[in-house]
């Protein structure tokens, strides 16, 4: 996939109506530990962003502030024009538009695949059951797993479970999808089936933020790649520039470690 030239500059795009996420001067502490330091980030509609970095760098924490699974202490996070603060109504409004896919899938083990998918549409979107079922089957077909609809998550492989989790998010018809290391808990032979689904999503224009170490995926679909270390955004660039010509020494070191095997 070719990358649009205007987003390869590496600079933060100018503010526009198309900005769906704006993070400004955001700081977060766990006690005395400064997890996120002065984060500034703007994401435009339809953008695909890959975030990488060593473990403990705060990359997961950063995307988890975008649906308020994590709080922050200073700065601001706007998602879809809504300020994510303590206001519960705002939080729920944002969560209706932003879905997250987790490292460990977090499917509901006591429900069938179909029930996992229809739960939120029925209870949050107030969709009639039949309509929710049709929607769920539609997305299950898209992730190529429709025949498993009546099984329980425990009966599926890791790759299948993660595809169900992606379909579950899609059933909410979100504007933004957050992926928190979606392939890290998978056996190597199952990574591809999940990445394939994610690539398709990206090509359809879904706004995606993806924490991952799958650099092939980053090269193929990302508009921008962000490298984080010690709670800061160290480098942000289009994939070509990021991989071919990284500026920071820390990025170079990280890339040499991750690409050497």
């Amino acid at each position: 996939m070719t990358v649009a030239t205007e987003t390869t500059t590496g600079a933060v795009p100018p503010p526009s109506k198309e900005d769906v996420i704006t993070v400004s001067k955001m700081n977060k502490w766990y006690g005395n530990f400064h997890v996120l330091k002065d984060i500034d980030l703007t994401v435009r509609k339809g953008e695909r962003i890959v975030i990488c970095g060593p473990s403990g760098s705060g990359k997961s924490t950063l995307i988890r502030t975008m649906n308020r699974l994590e709080t922050y202490q200073s700065g601001e996070v706007y998602v879809d024009g809504i300020l994510l603060g303590d206001d519960v109504k705002n939080i729920e409004a944002v969560r209706r538009e932003v879905c997250m896919v987790f490292q460990h899938f977090n499917l509901f083990p006591h429900m069938t695949v179909l029930e996992n998918l229809t739960l939120a549409p029925i209870w949050v979107r107030k969709m009639p059951k039949k309509e929710a079922n049709d929607l769920a089957m539609h997305y299950l077909e898209r992730v190529r797993i429709a025949e498993q609809a009546h099984k329980y998550p425990g009966q599926l492989s890791g790759g299948q479970q993660q595809r169900v989790a992606i379909a579950r998010s899609l059933c909410m018809q979100p504007k933004i999808m957050l992926f928190d290391e979606p392939t890290s808990a998978l056996d190597p032979e199952m990574v591809k089936e999940v990445l394939d689904v994610m690539v398709e999503l990206a090509k359809e224009g879904m706004t995606m933020l993806c924490v991952t170490h799958e650099m092939g995926f980053a090269k193929e679909v990302a508009d921008r790649v962000i490298f984080m270390d010690a709670g800061q955004i160290v480098e942000m660039a289009g994939p070509q520039e990021f991989f071919d010509n990284p500026k920071s020494d820390r990025t170079k070191l990280f890339l040499s470690q991750i690409l050497s095997h």
């Binding site: 649906n67 699974l69 879905c99 987790f102 739960l119 939120a120 949050v124 329980y152 425990g154």
Partner: protein, 367 residues
């Protein structure tokens, strides 16, 4: 014999050959197991025949003191002669068909509710059954309407009292315990503090104290003229006490549900109560079925303590019967054995249902 099934050569030969092979493998496998087998056999031979002789062979059902004096075994005649006093306490003799009917209604509702696991069609009837059934039981027991004579609840007793106290106890203690468990995990300091203080205070005192306070102390704080029925006070005492224990059981279950389940619910924009009801509690409660039933069994037996505030539960009525005639008093072993058998029957049924429930709820989820 699942052990047999695991043997590499499939069992062949006559029944006796297989029996010998099975015994060799399971009973006389090495000197230590042989010793244990022989020891257990000796114990059974020492215990069972005399017990059987006492309880069955030399026993009598004749419901008279004279009849009992003639035999060397158990005097079940005591139970036989006093059965209605033991079962119904001081409930007016002529009206005792009413507690019988009330018990049938109660047991039917309980079976209907428990059966909903097997027959999902019953699920939507559970709440209507209780909403209609409990007043029906109340009308039958109290009377005063529909041509039934009024029976003050201080005359209630025996098995109906025990069953009513414990089933109403379960129904109210369960949701209260759940709220307390959620309250203890709340982010809101006031709710959390109230829950913690409640749980720790109630758990920290014996049930006897709670019942005694409910019976003796509590009325002192009420304005003169206002009284709350003794039975109701005992019932509230049991509910409050059991709820504190259940709260800790449920908290254990809530903590055992992985954090990711809460996060998945949040990230799908479900509200707190939706997440709890649809995702967290079904998993948490399933995990704590054994300790929950443990609490219920414990509560069921603890209802016998209401005797200290002058209510005659099932064990209380046995004592009442023993005291009814000095000549019966020496047959207390038979009386308590009968009470123990009934208690065991009910508690064991609860345990079996709990095991069934665990198995049933796990169906389909495992490969």
């Amino acid at each position: 014999m699942s052990e047999n099934a695991k043997l590499p050569p499939l069992p062949t030969g006559t029944f006796s050959e297989r029996a010998v092979a099975w015994s060799k493998k399971n009973l006389f496998d090495g000197w230590f197991n042989t010793l244990l087998t022989l020891g257990a056999l000796a114990f059974i031979l020492w215990l069972v025949p005399p017990l059987f002789n006492w309880a069955v062979v030399n026993a009598t059902l004749t419901p008279t003191i004279e009849g009992c004096a003639e035999v060397t075994g158990a005097c079940w005649g005591f139970v036989n002669a006093n059965l209605r006093l033991i079962l119904f306490g001081t409930y007016p003799y002529e009206e005792q068909w009413r507690p019988v009917l009330a018990m049938i209604v109660l047991i039917a509702i309980i079976c209907g509710s428990l059966g909903a696991v097997k027959y999902p069609g019953l699920r939507k009837w559970i709440i209507p059954m209780w909403v209609v059934g409990v007043p029906v039981i109340g009308v039958l027991m109290w009377g005063g309407v529909l041509g039934l004579t009024y029976v003050q609840n201080s005359y209630w007793g025996g098995l109906p009292l025990t069953l009513i106290l414990s089933s109403i106890g379960v129904i109210f203690a369960f949701p209260l315990g759940l709220l307390l468990a959620l309250g203890r995990q709340s982010n809101m300091p006031a709710i959390k503090t109230v829950s913690v203080v409640y749980i720790e205070v109630i758990r920290g005192v014996p049930l006897i104290t709670v019942l005694f306070m409910a019976s003796v102390m509590f009325p002192l704080f009420l304005p003169t003229g206002v009284t709350i029925d003794k039975l109701l006070r005992a019932q509230i005492g049991i509910i409050l006490f059991t709820a504190a224990y259940l709260a800790e059981v449920f908290r254990g279950g809530l903590q055992a549900v992985p954090r990711g389940q809460f996060e998945a619910g949040d990230s799908l924009a479900l509200s707190y109560w939706q997440s709890m009801r649809l995702i967290i509690l079904p998993q948490a409660l399933r995990l704590v079925i054994p300790p929950t039933v443990n609490s219920f069994i414990s509560m069921f037996k603890d209802t016998t303590l209401v005797v200290i505030i002058g209510l005659f539960d099932f064990l209380g009525t046995v004592k009442l019967a023993l005291r009814s005639d000095p000549a019966w008093t020496k047959y207390y072993v038979e009386g308590y054995a009968f009470a123990a058998a009934i208690f065991f029957l009910i508690c064991f049924s609860m345990a079996k249902y709990s095991a069934y429930l665990e198995k049933e709820l796990r169906k389909g989820e495992r490969r």
